[in-house]
């Protein structure tokens, strides 16, 4: 086996892949540092900073008080001075307490300054439900941030992309909100998703922000989705393939910029589209995808667009209630069958 082959075959969890990307950038650039709640000795509640404290010490891996306006604002200030902070706020559900710093400052300073001030920071957080954590710990909310101009929004679905997108995010001169679903991280204390562990190259590499990937090629319908729902969609696609239905699965990987070309290209090929979104249904990603297609050419669609999303209710606690609102494989399969008339 050659070195290159070994590299290709090395498998990491998504969390380990993210940490590796951060560590490589920290070695490469003294101006990169990490701060947030429990990022030090704990290593990040979702494993996103495990081991960094040992290598880089408390000056570069800083535990913060539970004081989100304070430390996210401090990240902005350091970024204004040209440093490259990676700031973690563990749950996206908590962003409300510091929203002003995020959407009035981090996202707007470059524009307000007429392009004279840059804010090169990464704001890292976890999203999503499926483990009964209730309404304040299970949201995705990516459309909320994608709706507000001035931040890039990255949402990887697998270990290889997670590392490459992290490196791209750190090197980006813009604020990047980097959102990982807890269900893709490969955490020891959560039900394992088979795709939360995968091959990750050892070297530094970038995955460009704003480019979707075709996770599976197909001819009968396109599933446009991201994050954990990519895995569910792939599982469904494999099942349906046995019945002669071939789904194409498009992994968006980032909401801002949104790879509209990739969406149009795939829908142009299949003529049918299902949007799967773990965020709220109304005024969000699925509506944006629909608008993108209709503005280009409504005649591309051989059937009405279908969507599976959270039906505009807070995420409930009890298992049957939560499963009823999340985009489970069962809901995706039913929608896909309906779409192709099977």
């Amino acid at each position: 086996m050659t070195t290159a082959e070994r590299t290709r075959e090395r498998r990491l969890t998504t969390a380990r892949a993210m940490v590796e990307g951060i560590a490589q950038e920290m070695r490469r650039n003294e101006e990169v540092f990490v701060m947030g709640e429990d990022v030090g000795a704990y290593g990040g509640i979702f494993g996103t900073t495990t081991g960094l404290l040992d290598e880089f010490g408390p000056e570069r891996v800083m535990d913060t008080p539970i004081s989100e306006t304070g430390f996210i604002g401090a990240g902005i200030g350091a970024a204004i001075e040209g440093m490259r902070p990676i700031v973690e706020l563990m749950f996206v559900d908590f962003f409300g307490v510091c929203m002003d710093q995020i959407y009035n400052h981090m996202a707007k300073i470059h524009y307000e300054s007429g392009g004279n001030v840059r804010v090169p920071m990464v704001l890292m957080t976890s999203v999503g439900g499926g483990y009964s954590d209730g309404a304040q710990h299970s949201q995705c909310l990516w459309a909320t941030f994608a709706h507000l101009p001035g931040m890039k929004i990255v949402v990887p679905s697998n270990p290889r992309d997670a590392k490459g997108l992290m490196i791209s995010a750190i090197r980006d001169d813009n604020p990047v909100v980097y959102m990982t679903h807890k269900g893709i991280m490969g955490l020891a204390w959560m039900a394992k998703n088979a795709r939360s562990v995968g091959p990750v190259p050892e070297e530094e590499y970038e995955v460009p922000i704003g480019k979707a990937s075709v996770a599976r090629e197909g001819t009968d319908a396109t599933v446009v989705t991201l994050s954990l729902s990519v895995h569910h969609a792939l599982d469904v696609a494999e099942r349906l393939s046995g019945e002669g239905i071939e789904l194409e699965v498009l992994d968006l990987r980032s909401l801002v910029p949104l790879d509209r070309e990739a969406i149009l290209e795939s829908v142009g090929k299949t003529g049918r589209v299902l949007v799967v979104d773990e965020d709220y249904r109304s005024f969000g990603l699925s509506g944006e995808i629909a608008a993108t297609i209709v503005e280009e050419d409504p005649a591309m669609l051989k059937a009405p667009l279908a969507r599976v999303a959270v039906p505009d209710v807070p995420i409930p606690y009890a298992r049957p209630l939560e499963r009823a609102v999340l985009p489970t494989p069962e809901r995706i399969e039913e929608a896909a069958r309906g779409l192709v008339g099977a």
Partner: protein
């Protein structure tokens, strides 16, 4: 205090006042007889700082262009005192292409990275950013400091408390300056703030503080000097609170009906004529020199206004630029 420092403080205050008077004059052009906030050459809200010049002059005398300064929504005095280019700042207020931010910021959102200046229209929210700038300076081991100026209304905001805690915890080279002008728009301090003393609040976080009660530029200069030196020596944050004066309304067009009785007292408390009298009495300044200082300031301000008016407005297409770097 030596004569040249005193004259320099006076000159800074006069320069700011001349600027604000000219902006006020231009602001009302096109807005009368029926006040229309969006009309005229200077549209939008306008918060002027007349009466608060001692804070700007006294603080900024200790800061260089490498030191960071963040201001609140009433930013002109501290921007000018910190060395933000007056012409480009005026052009920004007029919404011109040649402005600091090419017309994208406006009077509450002035950014001048060459002197590390920024400001925000949101109460207290410049404080966390200043902490981050101070953190960057500390990490790099420079002797630069960051200062954040806020109004007394900001002391009830979460951003104030989080920043004080963070700055004290991390021993950041940052100076918090509270401009206590008694009024949060129309609500007096007595109706908004349980503990009047921001200095006390600072002390609760382990941050030393001083309150300058008389709005005197020399008092501010001395208090801020101690705070800045402390920060440069690596001894951490300080808080300076100045009982200052909002000579005009919260914004232009504010009739201030809520403070009718106090308005009569205001002219007598104006810090600039007060300081001028002191300097003349003590032989540091004479009438002729005072007039010359005022004339020079007016000349500079009029040139800035001319520059702004003669500059083109940005092309509409530019609205789509600069969302991302």
């Amino acid at each position: 205090m030596d004569a040249s420092t005193r004259l320099s403080l006076y000159r800074t205050m006069v320069r700011i006042r001349a600027f604000e008077e000219a902006i006020r004059r231009e602001y009302y052009v096109g807005k009368q007889p029926v006040f229309d906030i969006g009309a005229g050459p200077v549209p939008g809200e306008m918060h002027l700082s007349a009466g608060q010049e001692p804070v700007a002059a006294g603080l900024c005398a200790h800061l260089g262009p490498d030191d960071a300064l963040t201001g609140p929504h009433r930013p002109h005095h501290i921007a000018l005192a910190h060395g933000v280019d007056m012409k480009r700042m005026t052009a920004e207020i007029f919404g011109r292409e040649s402005g600091l931010c090419h017309g994208k910021g406006g009077h509450m959102h002035l950014f001048a990275p060459e002197v590390h200046f920024g400001c925000s229209g949101i109460i207290a929210e410049g404080m966390p950013t200043a902490c981050g700038q101070a953190l960057a300076f500390k990490k790099r081991g420079t002797d630069q400091v960051a200062a954040a100026v806020v109004g007394e209304g900001a002391v009830n905001q979460g951003g104030f408390h989080e920043s004080l805690n963070l700055a004290a915890l991390w021993k950041l080279p940052v100076i918090f300056v509270v401009e206590d002008n008694d009024w949060g728009i129309s609500v007096p301090r007595s109706a908004s703030t349980s503990n009047f003393s921001a200095t006390d609040r600072g002390r609760a976080y382990g941050i030393p503080g001083e309150r300058v009660e008389d709005n005197s530029v020399e008092g501010v200069y001395e208090a801020c000097g101690r705070a800045v030196q402390r920060a440069r020596r690596g001894e951490g944050p300080s808080l300076v609170e100045v009982h200052t004066l909002r000579l005009w309304g919260h914004f232009e067009g504010d009739a201030q009906g809520y403070r009718q009785s106090e308005l009569e007292d205001v002219p007598g408390r104006d810090p600039i004529p007060t300081y001028r009298r002191t300097l003349i009495e003590e032989g540091v300044l004479d009438e002729e020199e005072a007039q010359r200082i005022r004339a020079e300031a007016e000349e500079e301000v009029e040139a800035a206004i001319r520059f702004a008016k003669e500059s083109p407005e940005p092309a509409p297409d530019e609205a789509l630029e600069h969302v991302f770097a």
